[in-house]
Assembly symmetry: C2
Homo-oligomer: 199 residues x 2
Protein backbone atom coordinates (compact mmCIF):
# COMPACT_ATOMS: atom_id res chain seq x y z
CA UNK A 1 0.00 0.00 0.00
CA UNK A 2 1.38 3.40 -1.02
CA UNK A 3 0.67 5.81 1.80
CA UNK A 4 0.32 9.56 1.45
CA UNK A 5 3.68 11.32 1.01
CA UNK A 6 5.83 11.36 4.17
CA UNK A 7 5.42 15.01 5.08
CA UNK A 8 1.66 14.85 4.64
CA UNK A 9 1.46 11.68 6.67
CA UNK A 10 3.49 13.33 9.44
CA UNK A 11 1.09 16.27 9.37
CA UNK A 12 -1.93 13.95 9.63
CA UNK A 13 -0.34 12.14 12.57
CA UNK A 14 0.24 15.44 14.39
CA UNK A 15 -3.28 16.71 13.65
CA UNK A 16 -4.72 13.42 14.91
CA UNK A 17 -3.22 14.14 18.35
CA UNK A 18 -5.36 17.24 18.83
CA UNK A 19 -8.38 16.79 21.12
CA UNK A 20 -11.56 16.21 19.16
CA UNK A 21 -9.71 14.91 16.11
CA UNK A 22 -8.86 11.29 15.37
CA UNK A 23 -6.95 9.78 12.45
CA UNK A 24 -9.99 9.94 10.19
CA UNK A 25 -10.96 13.54 10.85
CA UNK A 26 -7.30 14.60 10.80
CA UNK A 27 -7.05 13.09 7.30
CA UNK A 28 -10.20 14.94 6.27
CA UNK A 29 -8.90 18.22 7.66
CA UNK A 30 -5.55 17.81 5.89
CA UNK A 31 -7.23 16.95 2.58
CA UNK A 32 -9.39 20.04 2.97
CA UNK A 33 -6.28 22.12 3.55
CA UNK A 34 -4.56 20.56 0.54
CA UNK A 35 -7.50 21.51 -1.64
CA UNK A 36 -7.47 25.07 -0.27
CA UNK A 37 -3.74 25.62 0.01
CA UNK A 38 -3.83 29.40 -0.42
CA UNK A 39 -7.02 30.14 1.49
CA UNK A 40 -6.64 27.74 4.43
CA UNK A 41 -3.33 25.93 4.70
CA UNK A 42 -0.89 28.81 4.27
CA UNK A 43 -2.71 31.24 6.61
CA UNK A 44 -3.00 28.46 9.20
CA UNK A 45 0.70 27.60 8.91
CA UNK A 46 1.58 31.26 9.38
CA UNK A 47 -0.82 31.75 12.31
CA UNK A 48 0.48 28.64 14.07
CA UNK A 49 4.08 29.69 13.60
CA UNK A 50 3.37 33.15 15.00
CA UNK A 51 1.52 31.80 18.04
CA UNK A 52 4.13 29.09 18.67
CA UNK A 53 6.80 31.80 18.72
CA UNK A 54 5.00 34.49 20.72
CA UNK A 55 2.59 32.78 23.13
CA UNK A 56 3.71 32.56 26.75
CA UNK A 57 2.19 32.49 30.23
CA UNK A 58 1.36 35.81 31.87
CA UNK A 59 3.91 36.17 34.68
CA UNK A 60 1.23 37.46 37.01
CA UNK A 61 -1.96 35.45 36.44
CA UNK A 62 -0.97 32.49 34.25
CA UNK A 63 -3.24 33.49 31.36
CA UNK A 64 -2.01 32.94 27.80
CA UNK A 65 -0.33 36.10 26.65
CA UNK A 66 1.78 37.64 23.94
CA UNK A 67 3.73 39.74 26.44
CA UNK A 68 5.20 39.20 29.90
CA UNK A 69 1.98 40.53 31.45
CA UNK A 70 -1.33 39.67 29.76
CA UNK A 71 -3.78 42.26 28.49
CA UNK A 72 -6.15 41.79 31.42
CA UNK A 73 -3.43 42.23 34.06
CA UNK A 74 -2.04 45.21 32.13
CA UNK A 75 -5.43 46.98 32.00
CA UNK A 76 -5.70 49.40 34.96
CA UNK A 77 -9.51 49.42 34.65
CA UNK A 78 -9.47 45.79 35.76
CA UNK A 79 -7.75 46.56 39.06
CA UNK A 80 -11.11 46.31 40.85
CA UNK A 81 -9.77 44.65 43.99
CA UNK A 82 -11.34 41.33 42.94
CA UNK A 83 -9.46 38.27 41.65
CA UNK A 84 -11.28 35.34 40.06
CA UNK A 85 -9.46 32.04 40.54
CA UNK A 86 -9.91 29.47 37.74
CA UNK A 87 -8.41 26.06 37.04
CA UNK A 88 -7.38 26.53 33.41
CA UNK A 89 -7.05 29.21 30.76
CA UNK A 90 -10.13 27.68 29.11
CA UNK A 91 -12.13 28.60 32.21
CA UNK A 92 -10.78 32.15 32.11
CA UNK A 93 -11.98 32.45 28.51
CA UNK A 94 -15.36 31.02 29.51
CA UNK A 95 -15.69 33.61 32.31
CA UNK A 96 -14.76 36.37 29.85
CA UNK A 97 -17.38 35.12 27.39
CA UNK A 98 -19.90 35.35 30.24
CA UNK A 99 -18.85 39.00 30.46
CA UNK A 100 -20.02 39.57 34.03
CA UNK A 101 -16.62 39.81 35.73
CA UNK A 102 -14.62 43.03 35.47
CA UNK A 103 -11.63 42.20 37.72
CA UNK A 104 -8.50 40.14 37.17
CA UNK A 105 -7.84 36.40 37.14
CA UNK A 106 -5.52 33.85 38.62
CA UNK A 107 -5.07 30.59 36.70
CA UNK A 108 -4.14 27.68 38.98
CA UNK A 109 -3.18 25.30 36.20
CA UNK A 110 -5.19 22.41 37.62
CA UNK A 111 -6.58 21.14 40.92
CA UNK A 112 -5.01 19.63 44.00
CA UNK A 113 -4.52 15.91 43.53
CA UNK A 114 -2.76 13.58 45.92
CA UNK A 115 -2.79 10.84 43.29
CA UNK A 116 -1.01 12.96 40.68
CA UNK A 117 1.22 14.61 43.33
CA UNK A 118 -0.19 18.06 42.60
CA UNK A 119 0.31 20.19 45.72
CA UNK A 120 -0.33 23.90 46.44
CA UNK A 121 3.07 24.93 45.01
CA UNK A 122 2.31 23.31 41.64
CA UNK A 123 -0.96 25.26 41.53
CA UNK A 124 0.47 28.76 41.84
CA UNK A 125 -1.33 29.24 45.18
CA UNK A 126 1.71 31.00 46.78
CA UNK A 127 1.67 33.46 43.85
CA UNK A 128 -2.03 34.08 44.51
CA UNK A 129 -1.28 34.95 48.15
CA UNK A 130 1.55 37.26 47.04
CA UNK A 131 -0.86 39.13 44.80
CA UNK A 132 -3.31 39.92 47.63
CA UNK A 133 -1.12 42.63 49.15
CA UNK A 134 0.56 43.69 45.89
CA UNK A 135 -2.75 44.47 44.21
CA UNK A 136 -4.87 45.48 47.19
CA UNK A 137 -7.26 42.56 46.70
CA UNK A 138 -10.43 42.59 48.78
CA UNK A 139 -12.34 39.66 47.28
CA UNK A 140 -11.26 36.33 45.82
CA UNK A 141 -13.92 34.55 43.76
CA UNK A 142 -13.31 30.84 43.36
CA UNK A 143 -14.66 29.84 39.93
CA UNK A 144 -13.50 26.23 40.04
CA UNK A 145 -15.27 23.36 38.35
CA UNK A 146 -18.14 21.80 40.31
CA UNK A 147 -16.22 18.53 40.71
CA UNK A 148 -14.80 16.77 43.76
CA UNK A 149 -11.30 18.01 42.82
CA UNK A 150 -12.57 21.55 42.32
CA UNK A 151 -14.36 21.52 45.69
CA UNK A 152 -11.28 20.14 47.48
CA UNK A 153 -9.10 22.82 45.93
CA UNK A 154 -11.61 25.55 46.79
CA UNK A 155 -11.69 24.35 50.39
CA UNK A 156 -7.89 24.41 50.59
CA UNK A 157 -7.62 27.91 49.10
CA UNK A 158 -10.32 29.20 51.45
CA UNK A 159 -8.28 27.97 54.44
CA UNK A 160 -5.05 29.39 53.02
CA UNK A 161 -6.63 32.81 52.47
CA UNK A 162 -8.29 32.99 55.91
CA UNK A 163 -5.38 34.82 57.63
CA UNK A 164 -5.25 37.46 54.89
CA UNK A 165 -8.55 39.17 55.60
CA UNK A 166 -10.07 38.91 52.14
CA UNK A 167 -13.63 37.90 51.31
CA UNK A 168 -13.67 34.49 49.60
CA UNK A 169 -16.72 33.56 47.54
CA UNK A 170 -17.60 30.89 45.00
CA UNK A 171 -19.95 30.76 42.04
CA UNK A 172 -23.57 29.97 42.91
CA UNK A 173 -24.73 26.44 42.26
CA UNK A 174 -28.20 25.76 40.94
CA UNK A 175 -30.33 25.11 37.91
CA UNK A 176 -28.52 26.28 34.73
CA UNK A 177 -30.22 28.73 32.33
CA UNK A 178 -32.74 26.83 30.23
CA UNK A 179 -32.28 23.77 32.43
CA UNK A 180 -35.19 21.35 32.75
CA UNK A 181 -35.56 19.74 36.15
CA UNK A 182 -36.36 16.35 34.68
CA UNK A 183 -32.97 16.24 32.96
CA UNK A 184 -30.89 17.55 35.87
CA UNK A 185 -28.95 15.26 38.19
CA UNK A 186 -30.18 14.90 41.77
CA UNK A 187 -27.18 16.70 43.25
CA UNK A 188 -27.90 19.86 41.29
CA UNK A 189 -31.57 19.84 42.31
CA UNK A 190 -30.68 19.37 45.99
CA UNK A 191 -28.09 22.16 45.81
CA UNK A 192 -30.54 24.49 44.11
CA UNK A 193 -33.20 23.71 46.71
CA UNK A 194 -30.80 24.29 49.60
CA UNK A 195 -29.71 27.61 48.09
CA UNK A 196 -33.28 28.73 47.24
CA UNK A 197 -33.90 32.46 47.42
CA UNK A 198 -36.92 34.62 48.12
CA UNK A 199 -38.74 36.08 45.14
CA UNK B 1 -15.16 41.33 27.25
CA UNK B 2 -11.41 40.78 26.84
CA UNK B 3 -10.97 38.19 24.13
CA UNK B 4 -7.96 35.91 23.74
CA UNK B 5 -4.93 37.76 22.33
CA UNK B 6 -5.30 38.68 18.63
CA UNK B 7 -2.92 36.11 17.16
CA UNK B 8 -4.46 33.30 19.17
CA UNK B 9 -7.93 34.40 18.22
CA UNK B 10 -6.91 34.46 14.55
CA UNK B 11 -5.54 30.94 14.93
CA UNK B 12 -8.78 29.73 16.52
CA UNK B 13 -10.80 31.30 13.70
CA UNK B 14 -8.66 29.52 11.09
CA UNK B 15 -8.84 26.18 12.91
CA UNK B 16 -12.62 26.54 13.19
CA UNK B 17 -12.84 26.53 9.38
CA UNK B 18 -11.47 22.99 9.13
CA UNK B 19 -14.07 20.29 8.49
CA UNK B 20 -15.11 18.52 11.68
CA UNK B 21 -14.06 21.44 13.88
CA UNK B 22 -16.28 24.28 15.03
CA UNK B 23 -15.45 27.33 17.14
CA UNK B 24 -15.68 25.34 20.37
CA UNK B 25 -13.49 22.42 19.34
CA UNK B 26 -11.04 24.79 17.61
CA UNK B 27 -10.68 26.63 20.91
CA UNK B 28 -10.12 23.36 22.72
CA UNK B 29 -7.51 22.28 20.19
CA UNK B 30 -5.67 25.61 20.41
CA UNK B 31 -5.70 25.53 24.23
CA UNK B 32 -4.30 22.01 24.08
CA UNK B 33 -1.54 23.23 21.77
CA UNK B 34 -0.81 26.18 24.06
CA UNK B 35 -0.39 23.81 26.97
CA UNK B 36 1.92 21.57 24.92
CA UNK B 37 3.83 24.18 22.99
CA UNK B 38 7.01 22.13 22.50
CA UNK B 39 5.45 18.71 22.00
CA UNK B 40 2.45 19.63 19.83
CA UNK B 41 2.29 23.22 18.63
CA UNK B 42 5.82 23.68 17.30
CA UNK B 43 6.01 20.34 15.44
CA UNK B 44 2.58 21.02 13.95
CA UNK B 45 3.58 24.53 12.85
CA UNK B 46 6.70 23.12 11.20
CA UNK B 47 4.83 20.24 9.52
CA UNK B 48 2.16 22.57 8.17
CA UNK B 49 4.73 25.00 6.82
CA UNK B 50 6.62 22.20 5.07
CA UNK B 51 3.47 20.75 3.50
CA UNK B 52 2.14 24.19 2.51
CA UNK B 53 5.43 24.82 0.71
CA UNK B 54 5.97 21.45 -0.93
CA UNK B 55 2.56 19.90 -1.64
CA UNK B 56 1.32 20.11 -5.21
CA UNK B 57 -0.85 18.15 -7.62
CA UNK B 58 0.76 15.30 -9.54
CA UNK B 59 0.93 16.52 -13.13
CA UNK B 60 -0.15 13.13 -14.39
CA UNK B 61 -2.88 11.80 -12.10
CA UNK B 62 -3.90 14.72 -9.85
CA UNK B 63 -2.84 12.99 -6.63
CA UNK B 64 -1.25 15.07 -3.89
CA UNK B 65 2.49 14.94 -4.32
CA UNK B 66 5.76 16.41 -3.18
CA UNK B 67 7.22 16.26 -6.70
CA UNK B 68 5.95 16.96 -10.21
CA UNK B 69 4.97 13.28 -10.57
CA UNK B 70 3.59 11.48 -7.50
CA UNK B 71 5.14 8.38 -6.02
CA UNK B 72 2.51 6.07 -7.50
CA UNK B 73 2.91 7.43 -11.04
CA UNK B 74 6.71 7.34 -10.67
CA UNK B 75 6.72 3.69 -9.57
CA UNK B 76 7.29 1.46 -12.66
CA UNK B 77 5.80 -1.54 -10.83
CA UNK B 78 2.45 0.22 -10.90
CA UNK B 79 2.39 0.46 -14.71
CA UNK B 80 0.01 -2.48 -14.83
CA UNK B 81 -2.08 -1.21 -17.73
CA UNK B 82 -4.95 -0.40 -15.35
CA UNK B 83 -6.05 3.06 -14.25
CA UNK B 84 -8.48 3.55 -11.40
CA UNK B 85 -10.55 6.74 -11.77
CA UNK B 86 -11.59 8.41 -8.51
CA UNK B 87 -13.38 11.64 -7.66
CA UNK B 88 -11.03 13.04 -5.03
CA UNK B 89 -7.64 12.41 -3.48
CA UNK B 90 -9.47 11.16 -0.38
CA UNK B 91 -10.92 8.34 -2.51
CA UNK B 92 -7.46 7.49 -3.83
CA UNK B 93 -6.21 7.18 -0.26
CA UNK B 94 -9.23 5.02 0.61
CA UNK B 95 -8.48 2.71 -2.35
CA UNK B 96 -4.83 2.49 -1.25
CA UNK B 97 -5.91 1.61 2.29
CA UNK B 98 -8.01 -1.16 0.76
CA UNK B 99 -4.74 -2.38 -0.74
CA UNK B 100 -6.29 -4.41 -3.53
CA UNK B 101 -5.37 -2.23 -6.50
CA UNK B 102 -1.84 -2.33 -7.87
CA UNK B 103 -2.18 0.04 -10.86
CA UNK B 104 -2.24 3.79 -11.18
CA UNK B 105 -4.93 6.40 -10.50
CA UNK B 106 -6.60 9.33 -12.15
CA UNK B 107 -8.19 11.92 -9.85
CA UNK B 108 -11.09 13.75 -11.52
CA UNK B 109 -11.41 16.45 -8.89
CA UNK B 110 -15.19 16.13 -8.62
CA UNK B 111 -18.19 14.95 -10.62
CA UNK B 112 -20.04 16.35 -13.60
CA UNK B 113 -22.59 18.89 -12.48
CA UNK B 114 -24.73 21.04 -14.74
CA UNK B 115 -25.81 23.10 -11.73
CA UNK B 116 -22.25 23.98 -10.72
CA UNK B 117 -21.12 24.29 -14.35
CA UNK B 118 -18.64 21.41 -13.98
CA UNK B 119 -18.06 19.93 -17.44
CA UNK B 120 -15.65 17.24 -18.70
CA UNK B 121 -12.79 19.73 -19.11
CA UNK B 122 -12.97 20.75 -15.45
CA UNK B 123 -12.75 17.09 -14.47
CA UNK B 124 -9.47 16.23 -16.20
CA UNK B 125 -11.29 13.78 -18.49
CA UNK B 126 -9.26 14.90 -21.56
CA UNK B 127 -6.08 14.18 -19.59
CA UNK B 128 -7.44 10.70 -18.80
CA UNK B 129 -7.96 10.02 -22.51
CA UNK B 130 -4.43 11.28 -23.27
CA UNK B 131 -3.02 8.82 -20.76
CA UNK B 132 -4.63 5.77 -22.42
CA UNK B 133 -2.17 5.71 -25.33
CA UNK B 134 0.77 7.19 -23.43
CA UNK B 135 0.69 4.50 -20.77
CA UNK B 136 -0.68 1.57 -22.77
CA UNK B 137 -3.81 1.35 -20.63
CA UNK B 138 -6.01 -1.70 -21.17
CA UNK B 139 -8.53 -1.29 -18.35
CA UNK B 140 -10.13 1.74 -16.71
CA UNK B 141 -11.81 1.03 -13.38
CA UNK B 142 -14.35 3.66 -12.35
CA UNK B 143 -14.26 3.89 -8.54
CA UNK B 144 -16.69 6.79 -8.24
CA UNK B 145 -19.03 7.32 -5.32
CA UNK B 146 -22.33 5.42 -5.47
CA UNK B 147 -24.28 8.67 -5.82
CA UNK B 148 -26.38 10.10 -8.65
CA UNK B 149 -23.52 12.44 -9.57
CA UNK B 150 -21.01 9.60 -9.48
CA UNK B 151 -23.21 7.41 -11.68
CA UNK B 152 -23.76 10.26 -14.19
CA UNK B 153 -20.04 10.87 -14.39
CA UNK B 154 -19.28 7.17 -14.76
CA UNK B 155 -21.79 6.95 -17.60
CA UNK B 156 -20.21 9.93 -19.35
CA UNK B 157 -16.68 8.56 -19.01
CA UNK B 158 -17.80 5.14 -20.27
CA UNK B 159 -19.17 6.80 -23.44
CA UNK B 160 -16.07 8.94 -23.86
CA UNK B 161 -13.77 5.93 -23.58
CA UNK B 162 -15.79 3.72 -25.94
CA UNK B 163 -13.80 4.66 -29.11
CA UNK B 164 -10.48 3.93 -27.41
CA UNK B 165 -10.83 0.17 -27.08
CA UNK B 166 -10.22 -0.14 -23.34
CA UNK B 167 -12.20 -2.25 -20.91
CA UNK B 168 -14.23 -0.04 -18.59
CA UNK B 169 -15.39 -1.51 -15.28
CA UNK B 170 -16.83 -0.18 -12.04
CA UNK B 171 -16.68 -1.33 -8.43
CA UNK B 172 -19.23 -4.01 -7.52
CA UNK B 173 -22.28 -2.84 -5.60
CA UNK B 174 -23.74 -4.96 -2.83
CA UNK B 175 -23.85 -5.65 0.87
CA UNK B 176 -20.80 -4.13 2.62
CA UNK B 177 -18.54 -6.29 4.82
CA UNK B 178 -20.24 -6.79 8.18
CA UNK B 179 -23.41 -5.23 6.80
CA UNK B 180 -26.71 -6.31 8.32
CA UNK B 181 -29.61 -6.51 5.90
CA UNK B 182 -32.04 -4.95 8.35
CA UNK B 183 -29.94 -1.76 8.47
CA UNK B 184 -29.25 -1.47 4.74
CA UNK B 185 -31.24 0.81 2.47
CA UNK B 186 -33.57 -0.79 -0.07
CA UNK B 187 -31.48 0.31 -3.05
CA UNK B 188 -28.44 -1.57 -1.82
CA UNK B 189 -30.44 -4.73 -1.19
CA UNK B 190 -32.01 -4.58 -4.66
CA UNK B 191 -28.61 -4.00 -6.26
CA UNK B 192 -27.06 -6.87 -4.31
CA UNK B 193 -29.91 -9.17 -5.32
CA UNK B 194 -29.67 -8.22 -8.99
CA UNK B 195 -25.88 -8.81 -8.92
CA UNK B 196 -26.12 -12.11 -6.99
CA UNK B 197 -23.50 -14.69 -7.80
CA UNK B 198 -23.35 -18.47 -7.66
CA UNK B 199 -21.70 -20.06 -4.65
Amino acid sequence: MARPPGDIEALIALMARLPGLGPRSARRAVLHMLRKRMQVMEPLARALTVVAETARDCQRCGNVSEAEICRICADPRRATGAICVVEEVADLWAMERGGGFRGRYHVLGGTLSALDAVGPDELRIPQLIDRLAQEGVREVILALNATVEGATTAHYINEALAPHGVTVSTLAQGVPMGGELDYLDDGTISAALAARRKL
